[in-house]
Assembly symmetry: D2
Homo-oligomer: 257 residues x 4
């Protein structure tokens, strides 16, 4: 039986500000990338999300970021290795602590935003993130962009890597994502997206912007939940996969603390 | 053989700003209260301090604070229970993560500044701190003001409590600290302070501001390291205690992660 | 012809997080209390709000706060006088700068959240806020809770004070607000609220929780815009007042920079 | 009579953390680049520095930065134009407000750290900083790296630009600074540095790392004050220039608010 994981960014409210619909998404996804306070997430709010994830039986990962609340971690920065290693360990540790309080274990790490994009190709910052994970807990998996150099780099370093595809993004012929600055980079038709993801899971391929097929080795699919239509698309993807007999399951089973 | 612990606040630099002389203090104290980022301490700097503590064989505790960098955690705040519980767990978790990267285990929690003073008597916020510690790791000890209501409150809740005395502070006849707003609240003579601490350790008493004796049940002595004269006073206290045959030892032995 | 001002809190988004509907409210109110970055508001977002206020012909005031983003300025703090004076001047200055870039002058100051409540009765912090306003620009008016001791204190110090009433709050017989912890403290019926405000403007009285009348000397009415129903209530109040021939007008006319 | 300005970074303490010796430097320099809270400086501390600058008759400029306290504004970031424009206006406004409270007018802007280096060549971010200055106060001068493309870009936009040289930095043959990553980039001999600066002021040239002469059109010299030896070097430079009959004077006379 074919199995796939669905992951999404959760816990991204901050103080009085709400973002996303964590409760709706916890019924859809199997893995929750939980904000750690550097781009989003205050401790009390993170803990609420973790408790809800625990109830929902969803696996949790540390969604680590550059320290940039006002920029939501979407702006490039050039921290030193010591700074980046420290920041990543700090965030994972904080989330592990809150997860323990919710009776959960953190099972993976997924870098967020600009850090995610940077380490897909920047070997130095990628090495720092790998070093950080190994320093705090080498059992943690790393979720990384399928096809990026990070996948091999982290595996060579000994980490378990979970390559992921993006449900609502167009792909180039070389398996890279079409830049958001290009027209057509983001897909909005839930039915099209669901069909693409079904094909990805069953055949391992995605149709590219120029109507070719590209092989994508993904063990998880990233879906969004930051708007009602995003939640609806995520739900649609899940239903389509389940209707086709695919089993939705976290790549690492959720563990109690 | 009589045994006592010496603790001090470390890791209180922040980014480009230095505070205290962590390396000097790690030769003097047996327990390091390490800042967790809310009143002081950036992750890379905290990690440096933890590695130095590991080398020095000093036990480490989480020096948790209200979220107030600009006020150095010295200003009263009134967080809700959910906020305070979340903040304390987050900080302990972050420090546990960085300590693990340094090969160390965090063995205790000592609240900082305004939070320390508040929970010495505020039962609600005290209960929140206790709840937070038990939620993340009930094996952690709590360092609390000797004679405060927090000592009994935390023990009743099941925590191991380490009551502490302050080396450079004057005491009232009821065992409370003379307020810093009173003249004579802070003692500056290293020799006098060292003699007082020797008597505390050997006889369990401290002379009060009105020349009486008060019983102080302390298992640790807090010394400061935020100026060269503070470091010198701390060193003097240690030497005096050692000369009298007292063994300096952390109340919880440092553990590897 | 009777004239009244309607004020509301605007510019309270922060980075990627949205709060309130500034554009809707700018069609309703005559004065906008604009966040200054300490409880909400990032510079780019504040500037957008100020430009929209400029187009709408709405007067703008500095909505100054304790430095507490994660707590949205709603938590009590005890800054020193030097800290509070500095913080208030800094925020007013920042808003004056952004307003100048939008072609506007800031005409008043309204403290936010916990600071607003504290200085309604705390003379020391009130004096600090007054000192700050006079140090940067003594022409700025201060919006204060009608009936509070702050009104007289600030007038004695030479400031122009605009006492305000709260549209959706119940009043005690002594003219104070019913605490939010009491049932019935917040009113939800737009029609009732609009009738109360009409009576306030025309007769200078409000019906209290125990069905008496209390005199409220208000030159502005605070309305909320943080939810669609709040926006609808604010619109209803405005329409009711206008239907009764009341002129809606800022207490200080908006000025260009 | 030849005239030159000496500028230095001041107001860089933050809360409980001290940096530099503002009082010593205010006796040496003629222009103070005052931190605005984004890389350093809390409002109360900034106000203290501004009051001391007012007493010392030193001109003050806004030392604007990327928002990065923990990185002290030394890390590259890629803010959007809206973000950068907003951030720069906000900081200038905040400093103008605090300066007004100290009876001073801000007369110039000097970007700090990574922002300074970036806009020396990045035209987009440079344009954003220019836009921000013109939006809040086009009378403000801009201090920029002598020889950088920013000098011409800002002058074309209509700003008064003050090109500056760095006293303790080695220069390449093309007039650019030797990168700090190169050996010999920073000069430590106070006497050598003072002689170089005297020649710069009297002849308009600096000796390069490869022993040639390069023309540097500088109207201000940047000196540092972040260590006792830096203060001593700055004092030495001033004395040497004065002994040679050079008049030390701010490029813009300090103005009262």
């Amino acid at each position: 039986m074919t199995v796939i994981d669905l992951n999404s960014d959760l816990g991204e409210s901050f103080g009085a500000w709400r973002m996303g619909d964590d409760h709706a998404m916890l019924d859809i996804v199997t893995s929750a990338n939980v904000a750690c306070g550097f781009h989003a997430g205050d401790p009390a709010g993170i803990l609420r999300t973790l408790r809800a994830a625990s109830k929902a039986g969803v696996a949790v990962g540390a969604h680590v970021s550059y320290p940039d609340l006002v920029g939501f971690g979407r702006r490039n920065m050039d921290p030193s290795s010591a700074e980046l290693i420290g920041d990543v360990i700090y965030q994972i540790g904080a989330l592990k602590g809150l997860a323990a309080a919710a009776g959960l274990a953190v099972t993976y790490v997924k870098p967020h935003g600009a850090l995610y994009n940077t380490i897909a190709s920047d070997k130095r910052q990628a090495a720092d993130v790998i070093t950080a994970i190994q320093a705090i807990d080498p059992q943690l998996s790393l979720v990384a962009l399928a096809g990026s150099s990070l996948v091999a780099q982290a595996r060579e370093a000994g980490l378990t890597v979970i390559p992921e595809a993006f449900a609502d993004r167009a792909y180039n012929a070389d398996g890279t994502l079409v830049s958001r600055r290009q027209p057509g980079a983001v897909l909005h038709d839930p039915d099209l997206v669901a069909r693409r993801m079904l094909r990805l899971v069953t055949e391992g391929v995605v149709e590219t912007v120029d109507n070719r097929m590209v092989r994508i080795d993904a063990e998880s699919i990233c879906v969004h939940g930051d708007s009602p239509s995003a939640v609806a698309m995520a739900r649609h993807i899940r239903q389509r996969l389940e209707s086709a007999g695919i089993k939705l399951q976290p790549f690492s089973l959720p563990r109690t603390a």
